[in-house]
Amino acid sequence: MDLSYTAQEQEFRAEVRGFLAANLDPKLADKVRLGKHLTKADFEGWHASLNSRGWLAGNWPKQHGGAGWTPVERHIFEEETTLAYAPRIVPFGLAMLGPVLQAFGSPEQCAHYLPRILSGQDWWCQGYSEPGAGSDLAAVKTAAVRNGDHYVVNGQKTWTTLGQHANWIFCLVRTNTEVKAQEGISFLLIDMETPGVTVRPIVLLDGGAEVNEVFLDNVRVPVGNLVGDQDKGWTYAKYLLTHERTNIAGVGFSNAALANVKRIASAEVAGGRPLIENPHFAARLAQVEIDLMAMATTNSRTLAKAAAGQAPGAQSSMLKVKGTLIRQEITDLTRRAVGPYATPFLPESLDEGYNGEPVGPDYATAASEQYFNNRKLSIFGGSNEVQRTIISKTILEL
């Protein structure tokens, strides 16, 4: 048992800090901290900056252009970048598709797509969920029918995050309706500029439009865009969902959000004293901080297991549930902290190019929006209910 980092790891942390100090534009960090909407250019610029340092794909092996970090190094990177309020790395190409291609794609697919992900030439989005298949992915209905050298794809995908920026989408499609639901699914790469692909934004209750519906109407996809074997997509989809979850607990996001709410509560005044000195508010804050301290260690324990080659199993589901509950609790504390200024709704002021004054303190603008937006954490990526079922089934063996 040893809670400390090795000298090498500490050195790496210093390196990351140095990089952030030199390369993260403070204006961009402010946008992240204040919950403003990042533009496509914001993401692309940050990606490019990381890529030039060889740090964009921390989880990829070096032969594919990744950093080849250990889980602990990835964790340190995550911790430092989130605490510095760097933009998150858009995960669809880097954390999701990349590993699937590396595990199941052909050498040609790897050679073609992976470099384009790193360079930013391609922006990928995810075509998993459908209107009738949310947490129940096996219910996928979008049909891909083989027609010569092409699949003809018809159907609808939904909850496609940042799909408005994407030029490629990886999809689960049904290629066989004669077999059990899980056995007739394939994993297909679709160029979004193909005729028949339409993207329509879904406005969420926080006013933001980061998710989309993607309509697929007689879309012709070359058979070369199939990953792995036809009808075996369920395996690849599961691989994607259960791997690459080193950051599932969101410890870094929570640490950053907690630091932010402390800053807010020090600035806010309640009954003539800083809000942070109010015993009730302080108690709520301390409670979540204590939970987070423990979860950080639960997370590290899981990382250590992963580093030793043990499959995370039910533990990644536990991290998902607890991690999202903690993150959501912090957004609730934040909206409480800003008091009546949680009420104004000025989503335009979160957009690039807004030149007006905020209403109330700048930290208040996005408080309610973030509270509502982060309800998604316990719904998307395998709802917390699905995770609880996984945990209990694993343990109860029933």
Partner: protein
């Protein structure tokens, strides 16, 4: 004990519910005019002031329906807060205004909160300095609900006393066009504004009530407003609950309606229990609006604390039970959950009222 509505209130409820059933598409001016025509504004006032109600359970009937329909109206600001203050404190000239409130031709707002006020009603830094023939107002009133659309504002300002003293708070009736306002929408779709008072001159006749002696009346009207907000929250909870029940009955996952999943059933049961608690707390505060101050305020804080907690639970659970669709703006649930959460930020959130309840309990012994 009797938990049935009187015949009149039952009629009011039925009428209002029918009317609001297709109110979603009406613009806010039409809605307001029609509410006035229906007599809904009048239900908030006693007969002495041109109304036919004004008691706690009149407020709750009206506001529960407003919450259930999920419409944004200036009923609270115009009818209860401003209307209530004028009815309680106004001289004959001033109470004459009530007619135009009840008939829907005037909208008002109560400009009270300030950036450092948070939820303390006695924290007023805005000053009113007496001049020869009137007062000069200086200060910044923030998140004034309906402040952008109001024709007339009631502005609180300090004519004496320390910044957090109960004594020395005065009220002024001010033409809204005479002050600088920045208007915006709220999270739940209502109008609000920042009001900046830079040497605003008002006449002596603008004073509402005795100089420096308005705190307790503000508290009384805020108590009524809080009771109404609790009822509105209960209405929103009922609608969110109904939508969720319907969704659980129809939405299929893993081959059966999600309402068949026991884990979700039990969470729904817990939610239903808490909605009943919210209704009871609202009944308690509405039934004690005419009680002595300590008892009344204890119920005000108890109800607002409970409503804040249950509102959060209902908002979060109904979204979660819906999944993704519950997060979309175009699905009906969004309006209800946002309203529940925003009510927590009006006149004191759940934490604030917990502390206040403790302080009031200590005072009562």
């Amino acid at each position: 004990m009797d938990f049935n509505l009187t015949e009149e209130r039952q009629m009011l409820q039925d009428t209002l519910r029918r009317f609001l059933a297709d109110a979603a598409n009406k613009d806010s001016n039409t809605l307001w005019t029609e509410l006035a025509e229906l007599g809904v504004i009048g239900a908030l006032f006693t007969e002495d002031y041109g109304g036919f109600g004004g008691a706690g359970f009149d407020l709750s009937v009206v506001f529960e329906e407003i919450g259930r329909a999920g419409v944004a109206t200036p009923l609270l600001e115009t009818g209860i807060l401003a209307g209530g203050l004028i009815a309680a404190l106004g001289n004959d000239d001033q109470t004459a205004l009530l007619e135009s409130i009840v008939d829907g031709t005037q909208q008002l707002a109560f400009a009270h909160g300030e950036p450092l006020t948070r939820y303390d009603l006695n924290h007023v830094a805005t000053t009113a300095t007496q001049t020869g023939d009137g007062y000069i107002l200086n200060g910044h009133k923030c998140v004034v609900m309906n402040g952008g659309r109001a024709d007339t504002l009631i502005i609180s300002a300090r004519t004496a006393g320390d910044v957090a003293s109960n004594d020395g708070i005065s009220l002024f009736l001010v033409d809204a066009s005479s002050v600088e306002r920045r208007s915006y929408q709220t999270m739940s779709g209502a109008d609000a504004a920042e009001v900046y008072l830079n040497n605003v001159t008002v006449a002596k006749t603008a004073l509402l009530g005795a100089e420096g002696a308005s705190f307790y009346e503000i508290e009384t009207q805020v108590a009524r407003a809080t009771a109404a907000l609790c009822a509105e929250a209960v209405g929103a909870m009922e609608s969110a609950k109904d939508l969720t029940i319907e969704y659980m009955q129809t939405r299929q996952q893993f081959g059966r309606p999600i309402g068949k999943f026991q884990a979700l059933q039990h969470r729904m049961a817990d939610l239903l229990i808490e909605v009943e608690q919210a209704r009871s707390a609202t009944i308690n505060v509405c039934g004690h609006l005419d009680a002595d101050r300590p008892l009344r305020e204890r119920h005000v804080s108890a109800a607002k604390n409970l409503i804040g907690r249950v509102g959060r639970q209902v908002a979060e659970e109904t979204i979660q039970l819906h999944g993704g669709i519950g997060m979309t703006q175009e699905y009906n649930l969004a309006g209800f959950t946002k309203r529940m959460m925003m009510i927590d930020h009006q006149w004191g959130d759940t934490d604030y009222h917990l502390e206040r309840f403790i302080a009031l309990s200590r005072a009562v012994g």
